[in-house]
Symmetry: C7
Subunit: 271 residues, 7 copies
């Protein structure tokens, strides 16, 4: 019943060696809509759900282009993602200016990781409340990385973040062995199927709520939104949620429970 | 009954990943009177209610001109809005000095968004307590953006902020498909009708309580106040609130409930 | 019964989006004696009550001259007012040095407004505990502004601050339509009548407790104190409070209630 | 019974707009022994009681000379007074160096007032715990000012601070109309009589416990201590306290009550 | 039942002279998977368990190369280890630039120790939440050091950190007398056997979950991951955990108890 | 029973205007062993008790020479005294360098007083926990000053600080009228007799526990310790405590009560 | 039962004038293993127990050489000792560079004392958690100093710190009169006998757990560890603890009680 006092800032360890504020930042990610990334031998793909697709407004950007060889999908606090993506853009431009080459994916990923770690060890800041999937191509081929508020970054063959992303992850785990040899389009279709599995019951992937981005060897980072997405959805076939009525739909408590429902729709976690 | 201790500053996540101080700042917006914005293919329009129209004083500025191609409407803490609009004016002047061109709307909007985000991640500051609708025209045409204290900014076809703005938003959602092709004057009339829907019961739009601003392709940002508004109201026709006696008038608890009523009229949320 | 913890500093929003420390600063103003300002087409006038007129001491300055075209009346913490008026004097001198002209009234008013806003958004400061009525004349004619601790400033035709100022405000509301065409002396008389309405029961305006200041087009800011005030009072006629015995005299709880009575007379709110 | 939490620092307003730490600083003054000041048309006089006249030690300075035309009497924390008087001395020397003239009394008084105000609006400092009576002569004649920890300064014809100073003030109020025309010596005698009225029961003014200082037009600030005081006391006549046995001797709770009695004699409030 | 308040930061001693935050940082290490180091007369070897071997992702780096003569294995917060290893890399590069030689192992180890100590004596930081085993070769031969969050560093003949590392340590203690004379390959085999003893019940060392690194006199630091590890495992023979069913498997409460099980798999302690 | 919260730092006044942290610092002085100072027309003398005369160690310095004309005796935290005496030494050296003369005693005393006052008005420092008796000779003759943690300094004819110093003070009060005309040696004898009166029951002044220092007109500051003290004690005659068995020996609660007894002998208050 | 709140930082006095955080730092020393120092007319000797002599690791350094004429033994937090010894090394090198001579022992000792005092008077730091015995030889002969976290330093003929050091101190007190005339080797033997008396029951001095260091006039500081110690132990004769079974072995509660036993062996107090 009683909560201890170890969760008020990110410079205090709990007696078990945990840093709760960093863990709470992960919850902000779970409140964002799902994003999925995957790589083949030649391409890296990002697909993402745009939640609360209000007709009046443009969608909040779920997928952001950083450079011609590099982009990211986000889940969590969009303003935090904007700050980080601005920083990545600067790093990328510096690389082109100083070294006359696109920045290697691992390098820019580590740059934001170090920036994020500082916020977990300095009083008076807070960890970034956003998770990122970074897709890019450099001299060593296509890459997919996941960034977390702790400053942790890991390279993946396939990854999913955001609300109900566990279902997408399960899809990826079942199919990742196919990915290396897939064509560009097949890779996108697998991404969309994984994303579909993270849909809430009775929801479908639509050109209105889905973003797709592709980058490949010799192919610049390209973002597909709105009508451009239709062609991709047609290739997927069944775009509806596979969740049945009888299924208890609370795979992640914080993402779909009443608490999350109570989050004001003006909050930025609505991405 | 018991409130946790996660809502005292903007650098602490709650266990659910929320930043309560940022959410509370949104409540300050709801205490401001309503403002509405909308765009056609050629124009962007802002209309706003001036609350507490005291005869002795000038109205507090609800609509502020930033540059000849750019202006904003505000809801919430007026001094915070003044600080932000001063900042936008500096950005705008810099653009003219350095690049010899009016600042693109998206750029100035992102500038204040980044400025606002810092206040959500640094101890000892507070989030800005004001929402803004920014209307402007640049090389890519007319634009309408909404700014929030979290540092979130989104482009809209039509948007409404402030007390009872949900009713105005409903109007916009029902009619936004008409907007692109509307003439300048038709656009203002739709804006005023949306604004009218946010009126409290028994209130009417008057030249005393309504501000109108228009900016368009080839047309500088112009603010209409006082008698200048009369001609617009005549075009609207019925300017009275559509809220009936039997309607329970508390669409937004914080904006019209007893708490808000208790707010001192000297508080700046009276805009 | 239980007070929340949102009122300890000015960088914390309450769940309703209020900043209590700023509101509390307004209470300091209500503990000051009343001041009234009003403008005609040609003149701006300030009149003020000097409370606790102790025979031994000079009166604390209720009206302060800033420049030959500019002055202010204050209610609340006198040392805070002195700091702000020193700042205004510097701004005014800078204007004369750099632009070789008296500072426009709106400009100097916005300068202190911005200075005050910073104190409402930075930890470790407190809002200024003083309200100001600023009267001045510039190229656009005579002006009257009210300054509040929140950093809010508004231009008025007539305004009143301090203890029981609501009564003075009522007078102004009933008569403000006369003001534009009034002569210099008539304007002062109306100001004194408004001020008289803010007197506590059984009190009268006297040359000992009343300050008058006038500034006009072509007429420098002039302050009348002591015997100089007598001629003005003679023009007013009845200088006694209109409050009857049967009237419950607590229009503003914090200004006239037992709490205020308990305030030490050495406290600066006695202005 | 329960105290609120608004009295821990000087940057927090209470809900009534009070700054308790500043008020508490006034209590430190009341724990100091009494000091009285008064002015005629030609002279300014300070007289003060030296409490705890221990035979072994020199008296703590109750009256301090700042410059040849300027001095002060203090009540409260002596080290705070020393800091302020050092600052006044620097200001005074600067005036002589830069402007080749003694510093005007009002100027040096405002300088410490501004310095003190900063401590009431900045976290991590405390208000000065001392009250001062400043007596000086400049081109506009003799002056007497009172300085308070809030940064409030007021000019007086006669003033008294410290323990039981209310009785001295009463004396001054009854006699101040005589002061302007008094001779130098008569002025001192009135000062000593006022001071005598602040004596505790059964105490007398003696050459050991009384300080006298005089400054006048054409007469430099001169401090009389010890035997030099005898001649003044002889002119007063009855130097004993007028408080009878039956009088309940606690005019100021904090100055003479058991709390004050418990204050360690090493504390600096013993001045 | 009641915890004292001495464990909130690293600048407060408990009444027993302990610094709890530093001790809690040690718990973060225990939540990391095990790492083992050992030295012979000619070589230094690091072996480590990669926990949560998710098929989709690359393993988080348990062993990091710093320079051609130097590397480390980590247990605890990976982002903290990245910061420290970046620092070591800079130190190492400086040595090569300034002194034209590889940095001595003891020197680089002391550099991070001093860096870590600062975080245990400065308010507003937290101790590093990671333990390191540093293996390197310099002019004085091969060395193995352990680094702790307190800033403590010690040289070892054999050492083990992370979850269940006590079992590995026991193995090392039983066999360390053999180490000096062992060949390169024998040394690795002993390391893997020690590591095997830290496996949870029913687990085995596999090419997927084991990292091996070797550095020797005249032999650069080389890291073996994935298939490269197979050859090493074949030399070990039995790679399964020796823990029986009947054994109560909670040698270290914080590392394998329910608390640890509840740690989110996104937390960085999963290394 | 309940303590208020006004005693946690030196920047908070209690409602009675007291600064408790400064008062607590005085208690640290009372835990130090006694020191006595006195002056004649030609000499100033310091004598002090060295408590806990452990055979193994040198005595902690109770009397410190600052310059050839200046020295001090301390009671309280010895490291704080060292910091202050180092500062005095620097001031003294500066005087010799810049003005080519020994620093006047009052000047150096005021320098440390100002330094100490800062610590009573700035958050994050603590008052110095030491009292000093400063003895020196300058152009105006021999002087004795007492320094307190509040920044208070007073000149004395005779003074005593530390445990049971009240008894020594009583001796001084009974005999101070003799001091001016005493010879150098007689002055020391009186000092030792006063010091003797502060001895605990059954204790005696010995060459092991007594320090003597003398400075005079034309005679440099000289410190007598150990055997050098014997000659002085012989002149005193009876060197034993005059406290009888029946006397209740707790003149100062904090200095001799059980609390003080419980103070660890490693604490620096043992001087 | 209830602890007050005066023990959370080193800038707060308790009502009794104590600084608890400094006292708690002393407890950290008591958790370290014992160290003993002693001086003759020609030599200074340090001997120390290395606790937790784990076979796998090197011993943590209990004795550290600073310069050819200077070294120290430590008890408490080893990383704090490293920081202080690095500082001493810098001071020592500076002396050789600037003055071309070894630094006097008292000077370097006072340098760390001043450095330590700052940490007892500044918020946001903590006192050093280590005690030091410093042995050195300079122009005035051999010296032994003890350093404490309070910034207190004292010169000793013989001293002991750390767990159960009281027993060693008792030995020193019984024998110190012999020390001045002892030969180098005899001095070491006495040191080891004192150290032996601080052993826990059933423990012996061994070449594995004992360090010896000697510095003398004309003889550089030399540290004996491991086998080099054997020759010294042979000279001692009986190297076993003299504590009998019946003796209640808890001379110092914090050093040998269950609390200390519960201290994690990874904590640095194990020196």
């Amino acid at each position: 019943m009683f909560r201890n006092s170890y969760d008020n800032d990110s410079v205090t360890f709990s007696p078990q060696g945990r840093i709760f504020q960093v863990e709470y930042a992960l919850e902000a990610i779970k409140q964002g809509s799902a994003a999925v990334g995957l790589v083949s031998n030649t391409h890296a793909v990002l697909v993402a759900l745009k939640r609360n697709a209000e007709e009046l407004g443009s969608y909040q950007k779920k997928v952001i282009k950083i450079d011609s060889h590099l982009g990211l999908a986000l889940a969590g606090l969009a303003p935090d993602a904007r700050v980080l993506s601005n920083f990545m853009r600067q790093q990328s431009m510096s690389s082109r200016l100083i070294y006359a080459r696109p920045i290697p994916v691992a390098r820019v990923v580590n740059a934001i990781a170090d920036k994020a770690q500082v916020n977990t060890q300095t009083y008076g800041r807070r960890p970034y409340g956003v998770g990122l999937l970074i897709a890019g191509v450099d001299e060593t081929g296509p890459h997919l990385w996941e960034f977390q508020p702790s400053g942790m970054v890991l390279e993946y063959k396939g990854a999913a973040i955001g609300a109900r992303s566990q279902s997408a992850r399960t899809y990826l785990e079942r199919n990742f062995e196919l990915f290396p040899g897939l064509s560009r389009d097949e890779l996108v279709v697998h991404g969309l199927r994984a994303l579909r599995d993270s849909l809430a019951q009775d929801k479908s992937l639509t050109s209105a709520n889905t973003s797709v981005a592709v980058v490949g060897i010799g192919e610049e980072f390209k973002l597909y939104d709105g009508d451009e997405v239709t062609m991709w959805l047609e290739k997927v076939g069944d775009v509806g949620s596979s969740r049945g009525r009888t299924e208890i739909e609370q795979p992640e408590a914080s993402g779909s429970g009443p608490t999350a429902a109570a989050a004001p729709d003006t909050m930025d976690t609505t991405d």
